[in-house]
């Protein structure tokens, strides 16, 4: 979230799209209720299904699954053509005036630089036109034919209400009603918030769906504002913490990035990331990259990391490609992996094309599962009839289960969607032999180090030199780990304003990442978490909820990264002269000498209004990007591409380019995608309020609330297929089938798409072959093995199936 849960109450218009907050985030949803009750907010839901969120919405718009870019592109077109944008904001705080290089183009579904054989782009032309002074050129009049605003207008002029309706199946009047509501927030004193979740991320164009909405927010002047922003609702209570700490294969902690194969030179690695400002006087905060990186390496390798050895740069793995989960299971399936450690997740259930995942696991020599539950993955070799039809005799994988504690059985912090690190205390002792994950990993590490010490090895250095100064080495405490993330001074740190004074003494905890150095005098395990455990103690455990402004920015409650800031880009809540766009939502202001207010300013605190420095300090141009340059795989402007399995087998905007041309598809998978002829129905998987993922089927109460697997279809489809309420049905895709009870509902309706009727089949995913709920089929038996071109998040939300009554 750029904002946070409580801030939702400040919105005037709330759109839940690509998510189902009432159902999947019922507790956070209370802030929608608050906004409706106390802010008279209009609440809109856009979804293929009339969800529990829709049941309390003022306006519901149906759309075909996977067509959100068409819908939102239509919104952009509406805002631009009816002149409902916040002009001053767009001009000052977005790259609308920036001039794009002459080589850039878009034609018939493809951007300039496409390499069809490699399914990727040469992105050189997706760039600004640079001036002789080394800065990007801008046209403040916004008239230049190649300025971003003009290109944006042209690009989205194709997304007319008629086109939106034809692609999405949304009735035109309903679409226009949504547009009108959105457009009311283009004035400075009204804001819109987008709340989204996996309904946007789990598409082959998921990242671009999110970008399109972010662009809408920039055009409306809603970024950085209380009650505005782009708000990703994270699923697992600590999944935000997972990404923050760099647990994705191409990330290091704090969104630092792993070096690539060709990046053998340390300085080159740093320079590429320490982005130079693209405009005069701009900040470009990533110029501090080396400080964060060196401090990380000092935290990991201590004295072994020196300037001479480039802070152990050579010890970091260099990626030849991204090892996302699809890639890893593809390699496993090819027999190229020996062993797999699976900690806290359940790939057999959670990844697409279950048959392929199971076959891949069967090729391993060993599989280690660290989990509080007996997951399907840890039982992948057991035969459960149709549910898991394998022959244990032919599977040689050795499976080792290491039972771990669950969150309530340990101390620690969870990072919520709003980036708050909230400390919690152990509520119960773990059962049986269960151990905290940190103890399990520590045990494995200590044994490994012992082996390297005894027997040596090809490359023992990173293991032998890893810092491990925990009081009980086999059981690092949550406090020790948190203090390590926060960072401390390794030597006395002089005050930059007066070098005769010491700012932080050697050994002390740092106050925040502003104190980090690139000279090896600071160590910090995750720069964005710096400030969470300072000399003053555990900031995450703070519980002061006083809220002087009434805007819900409780700076004394827990700790929010970065720097305890609650609303990102909050400098943009004031106009260039420093006045809040809306005095009622004053987050920060200039007091004559510095920025201050009810939030921590997202800006250099002593740079006065009117200075050339612009609010988006993490970007080298200082302004929000309507044009994404080369940052996205499939283009600088989001374009509607069909899901890889599309019920219409074409793309109404450009029939020659149907699906995401830059998405990675593995050999054999492209051919195996379903076609509308054999699998005529659009399917989507989702969660229900009664369950959490594949976990709560292990608990009795949740199982009572929703005991048995079902699928949802419209009354019309049910009639066509002779299916009645409560009948057993078989749903199949090219990858397999599931059997479930049919829920026949008016909440799913047939949509008219390009002159064709498209039916949806809704597939809740909570059942499996372990647990106390009634046994069911893993929904991912059906889903295709392809992901978003940028993140590789699998396309769980849009694929094709057939459905038949079981007689």
């Amino acid at each position: 979230m750029t904002n946070h849960w409580v801030d939702i109450k400040n919105a005037n218009v709330i759109i839940v799209m690509g998510g189902n907050a009432a159902e999947a985030h019922p507790c956070g949803f209370k802030w929608v209720t608050e906004a409706k009750a106390h802010n008279k907010a209009t609440f809109i839901v856009v979804d293929p299904r009339f969800t529990r969120s829709a049941s309390v919405a003022d306006l519901y718009a149906p759309l075909r699954t996977g067509t959100d870019i068409a819908f939102l592109g239509g919104v952009i077109n509406y805002l631009l053509s009816s002149d409902k944008i916040q002009h001053d904001y767009v001009k000052a705080y977005t790259n609308a005036p920036f001039i794009v290089a002459a080589g850039y183009g878009f034609d018939d579904g493809l951007f300039s630089g496409y390499d069809a054989a490699g399914r990727k782009y040469d992105k050189a032309s997706w760039a600004y036109e640079m001036g002789l002074d080394g800065y990007a050129r801008v046209d403040e009049t916004l008239q230049h034919p190649r300025c971003v605003l003009q290109l944006l207008k042209t690009h989205y002029s194709r997304y007319t209400p008629e086109m939106v309706s034809a692609i999405c199946g949304t009735p035109k009047e309903t679409f226009l009603k949504v547009c009108e509501a959105i457009a009311t927030t283009s004035v400075p004193n009204r804001t819109l918030t987008f709340m989204y979740a996996l309904g946007w991320t789990q598409h082959s164009v998921g990242s671009q769906m999110i970008r399109t909405a972010a662009m809408v927010q920039l055009l409306l002047g809603n970024m950085g504002m209380a009650g505005g922003g782009m708000n990703a609702l994270r699923g697992h209570s600590n999944i935000q913490g997972l990404t923050d700490l760099g647990l994705l294969s191409d990330l290091l902690p704090g969104y630092l990035t792993m070096p690539r194969e060709q990046e053998t030179d340390y300085q080159g690695y740093i320079d590429k990331r320490a982005l130079k400002p693209l405009r005069p006087g701009q900040m470009s905060y990533w110029q501090n990259y080396a400080k964060f990186h060196v401090s990380l390496m000092k935290a990991w390798f201590g004295d072994a990391a020196t300037r001479e050895n480039n802070w152990c740069y050579d010890w970091l793995p260099k990626l030849d490609k991204v090892y996302d989960v699809l890639q890893v299971f593809e390699l496993m399936h090819q027999g190229k992996l020996n062993g797999y450690f699976c900690q806290g997740f359940n790939p057999l259930a959670a990844f697409p094309h279950k048959a392929k995942i199971g076959a891949a696991l069967a090729k391993l020599k060993y599989l280690v599962v660290i989990d509080p539950l007996a997951t399907e993955t840890s039982c992948f070799w057991e035969n459960y009839g149709d549910l898991n039809d394998v022959n244990p005799a032919t599977i040689q994988t050795e499976v080792i289960r290491l039972p771990s504690t669950c969150f309530a059985e340990e101390n620690g912090s969870l990072t919520n969607s709003g980036r708050w690190l909230q400390w919690h205390y152990k509520g119960a002792e773990p059962p049986g032999e269960a151990k905290p994950d940190a103890d399990i990993i520590a045990g494995i590490f200590l044994k490994l180090r012992e082996l390297y010490q005894k027997e040596g090895g090809v490359f023992p250095d990173p293991i032998l030199n890893l810092t491990w100064n925990y009081r009980i080495p086999r059981s690092p405490s949550a406090q020790e780990l948190a203090m390590e993330y926060n960072g401390r001074a390794i030597a006395d740190l002089p005050d930059p304003k007066d070098p005769t004074k010491v700012l932080v003494q050697k050994g002390q905890q740092l106050d925040g990442f502003a104190q980090l150095r690139d000279d090896g005098t600071t160590a910090c395990g995750c720069w964005i978490y710096s400030g969470a455990w300072t000399e003053k103690g555990n900031m995450m455990a703070r519980r002061d909820n006083s809220d002087p402004s009434g805007l819900g920015n409780t700076l004394g409650w827990a700790f929010a990264w970065p720097a305890n800031r609650r609303i990102l880009y909050n400098r943009a809540s004031c106009d260039p002269s420093g006045k809040p766009w809306d005095p009622k939502r004053r987050l920060i202001g200039w007091d004559g000498s510095k920025w201050s207010g009810v939030d921590v300013p997202d800006f250099k605190p002593d740079v006065p209004p009117g200075d050339a420095m612009d609010p988006f300090i993490m970007l080298p141009e200082g302004v929000g990007r309507l044009f994404a340059l080369d940052k996205m795989a499939e283009g600088p402007f989001p374009e509607h591409y069909e899901p890889f399995e599309t019920p219409i087998d074409t793309n109404l905007l450009h029939p020659k380019v149907i699906s995401n041309p830059a998405a990675r598809v593995f050999k054999g998978d492209l051919e195996a995608f379903g076609k509308g002829t054999a699998f005529p129905y659009a399917a989507t998987t989702y969660r229900l309020t009664e369950h959490f993922h594949f976990w709560t089927k292990h608990t009795g109460l949740a199982a009572i609330m929703q005991p048995e697997q079902f699928v949802e279809i419209s009354e019309e489809l049910a009639r066509e297929k002779g299916i009645k309420v409560g009948d057993k049905v078989k749903v199949s895709s090219p990858r397999g089938f599931i059997k479930a009870v049919a829920v026949v509902t008016r909440r799913i309706r047939p949509l008219q798409v390009g002159g064709k009727t498209v039916h949806h089949v809704g597939i809740p995913l909570h059942w499996g072959f372990t647990g106390v709920a009634r046994r069911g089929y893993l929904a991912n038996i059906l889903t295709p093995f392809v992901g978003d071109a940028n993140t590789q998040t699998p396309e769980f939300k849009s694929f094709l199936v057939n459905i038949e009554k079981i007689s």
Partner: protein
């Protein structure tokens, strides 16, 4: 639920005066159906607090689960898909005991002290006095009490009388994430409802209103409805609930006889219970009841 020391104002089949030393304010639970998202957190909280566990059932082609009230499920969410002038609406109502001011169950109950009403308005079953006859089920205009196949006693929502006596709100109200369930004095709840109805009318729900039906003297569980003119839309919430004529006759016009009848029924029940066990009782009692009329 006989553990509390709440002030009792009425007891089933009892003629001796009820204790009334103290003053307890009348309470109410207000369920704002227009805010409810059907998350069932209240269902779970109810089972957790009351330590009941229903069986892990099956799916019946609807999202409602458990699909009906049982002796273990004292509240269930009922989901209704209706098409109104506003288009498709998904009306989700938390069903359970309404705690009528004029409780049909209590009036119908022939077992002395099995059904009581506290000064707070809460209607509670004291299962230790229950004879398993099931008359309360017939007497209830909302079809709420459920006979347990395990012990042949009747169970229903207690409005968490054991929590309320300790000054805390019912478990469902405590748990509800959207604030759709609120609890307080009946007076405060009426005021709160009025505010909410005003807001709903502003939002275009011209027929929004309160459900506090007069036919049962008003209730201590009330609903805010978007379509107060059509309560039946909400999975058959009765429009004008009233206590059945048989029960009214039994307790009203036939009052002089009733006292005698009570004694007979009570004695008969006891006799049958010890000789034949609970299951056979109800049929016999029914006959006696009919004979009385």
């Amino acid at each position: 639920m006989a553990l509390q020391s709440l002030d009792i104002i009425r007891r089933s089949a009892t003629t001796t005066p009820s204790p009334g030393q103290r003053k307890t304010p009348e309470v109410a639970k207000l369920i704002d159906v227009t805010k409810c998202i059907g998350c069932k957190a209240c269902q779970v909280a109810c089972m957790e607090w009351n330590d009941t566990r229903d069986r892990i059932g099956t799916n019946h082609g609807v999202l409602d689960n458990p699909v009906d009230l049982t002796a273990d499920s004292w509240t269930v969410m009922r989901f209704a898909e209706v098409v109104t002038e506003r288009g498709l609406e998904w009306l989700i109502r938390k069903d359970g005991c309404m705690h009528c001011a004029d409780p049909g169950c209590l009036k119908a109950c022939p077992a002395p002290g099995a059904v009581v009403q506290y000064a707070s308005g809460i209607v509670d079953f004291h299962e230790e006095n229950c004879i398993g006859c099931g008359y309360c089920i017939t007497g209830c205009p909302f079809n709420i009490p459920r006979l347990s196949p395990k012990d042949s006693k009747v169970y229903k929502c207690t409005l968490c009388s054991d929590r309320v006596v300790a000054g805390v709100e019912p478990a469902c109200a405590k748990t509800c994430p959207t604030g759709a369930i609120v609890f307080g004095t009946k007076e405060d709840m009426l005021r709160h409802a009025e505010e909410r109805i005003g807001e709903l009318k502003e939002r275009g729900f011209a027929r929004a209103g309160l459900y506090d039906p007069k036919g049962v003297g008003g209730t201590h569980v009330m609903y805010v409805l978007h379509h107060a003119d059509k309560p039946e839309l909400y999975s058959g919430l009765p429009k004008d609930p009233a206590i059945g004529p048989a029960v009214e006759l039994w307790k009203g016009a036939a009052k002089p006889l009733a006292a005698l009848g009570l004694a007979l029924v009570g004695a008969g029940a006891f006799f049958h219970y010890v000789t034949k066990g609970p299951n056979e009782v109800s049929g016999e009692i029914e006959k006696e009841f009919d004979d009385e009329k």
